[in-house]
């Protein structure tokens, strides 16, 4: 394998892992409520910005990151409690529009609470690139990949081995039956928003040392994460991860081998092609099964 190809692959995997974390957040909420939460990108932004200002206030990085995740989780739960739950019974489209409104609100608030500048975050373990077979990778990229792996494993355990997780899965399969079996659908919704927000915040903190953070960073990461979730199949956990990594790799490879000007065109072209051939994404459930 040439050093050049290896460099593209490493770049693609790093950014792909971030897309995957954001995509997982989309899928969790979609499973619990059929809602596509367009404020997912704002969770990413709040995670990065909150840890930036907490570090600025003198807290050590691990504590600042943990607090930022807690803050974002609370924001996610508040969004569910005060906006989505109020409109329960409304059609899904209405709920989606509510999340779009929430994302604009959160973005505007971030511009006021913090500012509209771009901020750096210190890398977790230094900036010195590590050489791998002629290519280089930043220690922070290893953090991104490692944490994504841990998170995916953790989510698998949560959904397959714990009662809460199973309750959430049950709700996604059949809401009415779940309710009849004594599962509090309302609580499931609350947990799903909290969990998605926490995942988003984690992504925002991991990526900030590489890409910086700013009040509007959620727009792009939210969009790419959404595209990854669609590509992998909305609602599928493994699909979100696969979709994220695939999107990241396609972007890096097309920028390297074809043309940097058309890398987004190529990435989204492939997504369109996949969706035409497989309307429910790479690993999504066939929509026919849902009916």
């Amino acid at each position: 394998m040439s050093a050049q190809l290896l460099q593209y692959l490493l770049a693609g995997l790093t950014i792909g892992a971030i897309y995957a974390l954001v995509a997982l957040g989309f899928s969790i909420i979609y499973n619990a409520s059929q809602v596509i939460n367009f404020a997912q990108g704002e969770f990413v932004m709040i995670g990065g910005m909150a840890s930036m200002s907490l570090i600025g206030a003198g807290l050590p990085l691990p504590l600042a990151a943990a607090l930022a995740i807690v803050v974002t989780t609370l924001v996610g739960m508040a969004l569910e409690k005060f906006a989505v739950e109020r409109a329960r019974g409304a059609p899904v489209v209405t709920l989606i529009i509510i999340t779009i409104g929430a994302s604009i609100l959160l973005r505007g608030l971030a511009g006021l609470v913090w500012d509209k500048n771009i901020h750096p975050l210190p890398a977790f373990s230094g900036d010195r690139p590590i050489a791998v077979g002629g290519a280089t990778i930043l220690p922070q990229s290893l953090w991104v990949l490692g944490v994504t792996l841990v998170v995916v494993a953790g989510l698998w355990w949560f959904f397959n081995r714990t009662l809460h997780g199973k309750a959430m899965l049950a709700t996604s399969h059949n809401r009415l039956a779940a309710q009849l079996a004594g599962i509090s659908v309302r609580r499931v919704l609350l947990i799903s928003f909290g969990l998605s927000a926490a995942l988003g915040a984690l992504a925002g903190i991991l990526v900030a040392p590489i890409t910086f953070t700013s009040w509007d960073i959620g727009v792009m990461l939210g969009l790419k994460g959404f595209a990854a979730a669609i590509l992998g199949g909305l609602g599928s956990g493994p699909g979100a991860v696969l979709g994220g990594l695939a999107l990241g790799l396609v972007e890096a490879l097309s920028a390297g081998y074809v043309s940097s000007a058309y890398k987004d065109v190529i990435a989204f072209g492939i997504i369109l092609a996949v969706l035409v051939l497989m309307p429910s994404g790479l690993l999504g459930q066939r929509s026919a099964e849902r009916v």
């Binding site: 770049a11 693609g12 509209k116 901020h119 590489i210 700013s214 940097s260 000007a261």
Partner: protein, 387 residues
């Protein structure tokens, strides 16, 4: 109120006649000279409009405290166009028709400036734009001037420096924003005049978070002797970090778009060794004492920072130059007559502003040359002048 204003405006020529002999005593009785401004004080271009407005307010106050202009006070009529070309048009119409200003200084962005040019041309009001693009003054428009350096000058300054280092084949990488695209086009256009060949031309998206792929491609190209990044915002900082990460060793040039401490803060250690053209204001304190620009930029920096307790930016400097071009022209014309003021602005020669020495002419409505830019290199996280 507006009726009173209008009567006052009608009466102004008569008052001016009567007061001719006793100018000093009449200062309080006369209507003020109105300087109109429309700036992006809020919105996405607030980093331009905010220091511009603060500069205008500060210096109008100072000029008035020193007795005003032609024995009359200055009055600043400023609107916030928030980076929106439509709003800019509305406000300029209001400045011309209702406020009846004597001159306009403003237009933080190229978009806003271009949108109002037909209005000022038709009404015949001297207008000094604070936006960057070459198109504002090329072709020359009778009533339109501008103070900031252009992106073409930035390209030229960089190419001159490259030539001095025996670099002739370079890779160009630019973002997809308006600033980036415009500068890319200018660099491509003037490159051959300086014997520079652009052997790779890559781009990245405005919000891209990784450019290692594009840079790796350039690293594989053995011809490339230096890389030039035309960009603005977070992109160039990410690119600079990526550049070091993949271990590229050729010189890296950035544009004047990143000439702020923000860039060094974001790119960290990776910024060391980067060269870029920038206004003298950025290195005011380290300019040699015999530098003709030193006095002006140090004074401006001191005034601005002691008043607002924030760092000066080159954008505020553009507003300083715009205001003083107008004020000096009024003094030279001994009048606020719009046509005479316009002629006086156009005949400004050898005037040292914050942006550089202005030598305007009927063919050049900006009047700066390459000496207005300084080539800087970042060393130990700070700007140093390249000798």
């Amino acid at each position: 109120m507006s009726i009173v204003c209008r009567f006052a405006a009608l009466g102004r020529p008569l008052v001016a006649f009567a007061a001719g002999a006793t100018l000093a005593f009449a200062a309080h009785a006369q209507a003020p000279i109105k300087i109109g401004a429309f700036l992006s004080v809020t919105g996405p271009a607030a980093f331009l409009g905010d220091p511009e407005q603060k500069t205008l307010e500060l210096y109008v106050e100072k000029i008035n405290a020193a007795g005003g202009v032609l024995g009359r006070k200055l009055q600043l009529v400023a609107y916030d166009s928030a980076g929106d070309a439509d709003k800019a048009r509305t406000f300029v119409k209001r400045l011309i028709e209702e406020d009846k200003v004597d001159a306009i200084v403003g237009g933080s962005t190229t978009g806003e400036t271009m949108a109002v040019i037909p209005l000022v041309e038709q009404a015949g009001v001297p207008f000094i734009s604070l936006a960057g693009a070459v198109v504002i003054v090329e072709p020359v428009k009778k009533w339109v001037f501008k103070t900031p350096h252009t992106d073409r000058m930035a390209c030229e300054k960089i190419f001159v420096d490259m030539k001095a280092r025996n670099i002739s084949k370079i890779g160009l990488i630019s973002g997809s924003g308006g600033f980036d695209k415009s500068m890319r086009a200018q660099c491509l256009e003037v490159a051959k005049n300086y014997g520079i060949e652009i052997v790779a031309d890559e781009t990245y998206g405005a919000k891209d978070t990784d450019m290692t792929a594009q840079l790796t491609k350039m690293r594989q190209n053995a011809q490339i002797q230096a890389v030039l990044n035309a960009g603005f915002g977070a992109g160039p900082a990410i690119l600079t970090k990526n550049f070091r990460q993949i271990g590229m060793t050729v010189p890296l040039y950035q544009s004047h778009g990143v000439a702020s401490k923000e860039f060094i803060k974001l790119a960290g250690d990776a910024a060391n060794g980067v060269r870029l053209p920038a206004a003298a204001l950025l290195v005011a304190k380290s300019l040699p004492f015999d530098d003709p620009q030193k006095k002006v930029v140090v004074a401006y920096e001191h005034e601005f920072e002691s008043r607002y307790h924030q760092d000066v930016s080159t954008f505020g400097g553009h507003a300083y130059d715009g205001l003083y071009l107008v004020v000096d022209a009024m003094k030279k014309a001994h009048s606020t007559d719009k046509a005479r003021v316009r002629d006086a602005i156009e005949s400004t020669r050898g005037w040292m502003g914050v942006d550089g020495e202005f030598n305007l002419s009927p063919k050049d409505h900006m009047g700066l040359d390459l000496s207005a830019f300084r080539m800087l290199e970042i060393k130990n996280g700070d700007w140093t002048l390249v000798k």
